[in-house]
Structure formats: C-alpha cells, structure tokens
Subunit: 211 residues, 2 copies
C-alpha cells in the first residue's frame, strides 16, 4: 500500500538527529528535543513504518539511508511485465512488406515480431520501418520483411518476470515503441508477449485509478 | 513525499472499528481493543497521517473514506503536463503527404500537427495515417495532408496545466499516440507542445529513479 505523507517539522528533526547520532535510543532522542519519550512515540512509529528509520532492541534507532523516492520506487518494484503485457502479433520472415503493413492495420498494433520456421524471434518491424520502406523505390509486394527488419543482436527484449520499470527504462533508452517478451529456450527465443509504451501508459493510469 | 507502508493487523482493526463506529474517541477505540490509549497512540498517528482517519477535537476519529490507491493518486496529482511536454513539430495544411513523411523522419517524431495560415491547430497526422496513405493508389507528392489528417472535432487536445494522469487517460481512451498541447486564444488553438506515450513512459521511469 502506497500513501502520501508529509513529514512534520518534528519528524524532520528526529530524522536529522538519528542521521547524525544513530544508533540512538528513543530516550536519548527525547532528551535532545526536550520532550518525553511518550510524546515522541507516534513520530518514531511513523518514521519506522515509513522505512526511514529502523530499530534494534537494546541498540536503538538508526537511519536506513532510504529517501522518499527510494521508498516509492520500492512500491513500483512490485509491478511486473506480466501484469501489463499484450498479445504479440507475429509474421513469418518471408512475408512481403506490403502484407506486413496490412497485418499491422488488421491487428491494430504498432510493432510486428518476425519469426523463423521454428517460431523463434528473428526480427522486429516498427511502423517507422514500414513507413521508410513504403516511400522507397522498391515494390512492397516483392520486398520480404527480413530485408528491412531490425535483427539480432539489435533487438532489445524483456521477460515476463522482469520489473515493469526496467522494461520502461529500456523503451526510453533504446528509443523504441515495443519490446518482445521472450522465453529463452535451448533453440532460441520464443515470443510470449508484447510490451509497448501503451502498456506503460496504462500502468501509469492504473497507479492512480486502481481500486 | 510518497511512502510505502503495510498496515499491521491492529491498524486494520482500528480502521474497521472507526468505519463502523466513527466518530469515536481514542479512549473508546482502546476500550474495544482492550488496550491502553497510550499503546494505540502510534497507530492512530499513522492512520491519521496516512489520510485514512481524520480527528476532530471533542468529537473523535472518523473514517475519511479514502482508500490506499486514492491516497497514492493524490501524489500523482502533483505531476502536470508541463513537467513532461515535448517540442511540437508542425506542418502547413497544404504540404504533401510525401513531405510530411520526410519531416517525420527528419524530426524523428511519431505525430505531426497541422496548422493553418494563422498557425492555429487544424489537424493531426500520425505514423498510422501516413502509412495508410503510403500504400494507397495516390501519388504521395501530389496528395496534400489535409485530405488524410484527423481534423476537428475529432482531435483530442490537452493543456500545459492539466494533470499528467488525465492526459495519460485520454491517450488510452482515445487510442492515440500523442496529444497536441494547446493554448486557447480568441482566434483558435495555438500549439504550445506535444505530449506522447513516450512522455508518459518517461514520467513512469521518473517516478522510480528521481532523487
């Protein structure tokens, strides 16, 4: 469960006391603030629960070193690729570019994955690749997709059990719209799903509107 | 500041007691749980700080009706379109489809905005629109973009001061890749930015990696 809190001034002061002096007992903190241990108890509970402080019996409170954003990132670290994956649309490597474009419209996707005769991943085709080919000089019905597709080792993949945040980072860093979700087998990579910027946008909306 | 907490069993019990009996004083809650008021103080502080409970002097604690995800959404309600906007790429409405495709590649964007002679928004062109046109029978250099573009009232827009989460919702609901960010003027809509699924993906990554 992720919540929004704003630390009050006393809690900020407790944090900085523990940062400087920890491990430190609750009584020692109370002394430094001229307050009773009882008065401080709720603040210490909040700071501990929020993950800023940790407490060890007979030792006292110490600073975990975690910042607010690290604590948020911990909650994002519970969302996986499998939670937001889509169904992959695959075509064979000898299909024409024209047929690939038609498939893209029929299936209403922005990226097609290309497979060999064993159904293993060999290429990726984006709308951009197809648009580039379509303004070229070649006859689209005679041009096979394996001439224009992105191929290994330039394909970036992800797995179902990868964190969504890591897959999102790949999309941004590689400047691509989609990742094939693959399962590694002895023969090669089987395509088990599709993860796109639409998936990430849905996850973002989901963070706010989920129940 | 957003944090991750897990309510413990006692806190869950307090929540359900207040839901059923609120407004209720701390002492009455303590009585129902066979605990002292002092023991409960940290739990009540956490539940109040987290926004689940609210307290009124001389009345007691009551349930705010907010769920964990509503409380998270409040933190997302601090991210605006202006925080993640990109520079818009605009073309004139009498440009050819061929030139629009070339512009799209030169500028490396997935969506172009079309403006009239007063620089006001009149259309949107996606990669999908251009790809569809490119496999048609017409000569791309002779076909003006205003024949194939999406036009008003079918254009979905957003403003710089809109919440990013609301803009993300529009992208998902309308199944589009980008929104023009506009400023309303007396003459019409001026284009001031571009918001895409890439922007949202960056925001998602930013949630986890920001400092």
């Amino acid at each position: 469960m992720v919540i929004q809190i704003d630390l009050n001034k006393r809690q900020e002061r407790i944090l900085s006391i523990v940062k400087e002096n920890g491990p430190i007992t609750g009584e020692q903190i109370a002394e430094k603030l001229n307050l009773t241990r009882a008065t401080l108890r709720p603040d210490l509970a909040i700071l501990t629960m929020a993950g800023y402080l940790d407490a060890r019996p007979r030792v006292g409170y110490f600073f975990t070193g975690k910042t607010g954003s690290q604590l948020l990132s911990e909650s994002l670290k519970k969302i996986y690729v499998r939670d937001y994956q889509s169904i992959p649309v695959v075509i064979s490597e000898n299909v024409s570019v024209y047929d690939a474009i038609v498939t893209m419209f029929l299936e209403d996707v922005g990226t097609l994955f290309v497979v060999d005769k064993d159904s293993l991943l060999v290429g990726v085709l984006s709308r951009k690749d197809l648009l580039r080919a379509s303004i070229g000089k070649q006859e689209l019905t005679a041009l096979p997709v394996n001439i224009i597709m992105t191929r290994m080792p330039n394909i970036t993949v992800c797995s179902r059990d990868e964190l969504l945040i890591d897959a999102a980072k790949k999309l941004i860093e590689k400047q691509i719209d989609a990742l094939p979700i693959v399962k590694e087998t002895e023969k090669g990579q089987e395509i088990v799903g599709r993860l796109t910027k639409t998936s990430i946008t849905k996850a973002f909306v989901g963070l706010a509107y989920q129940e």
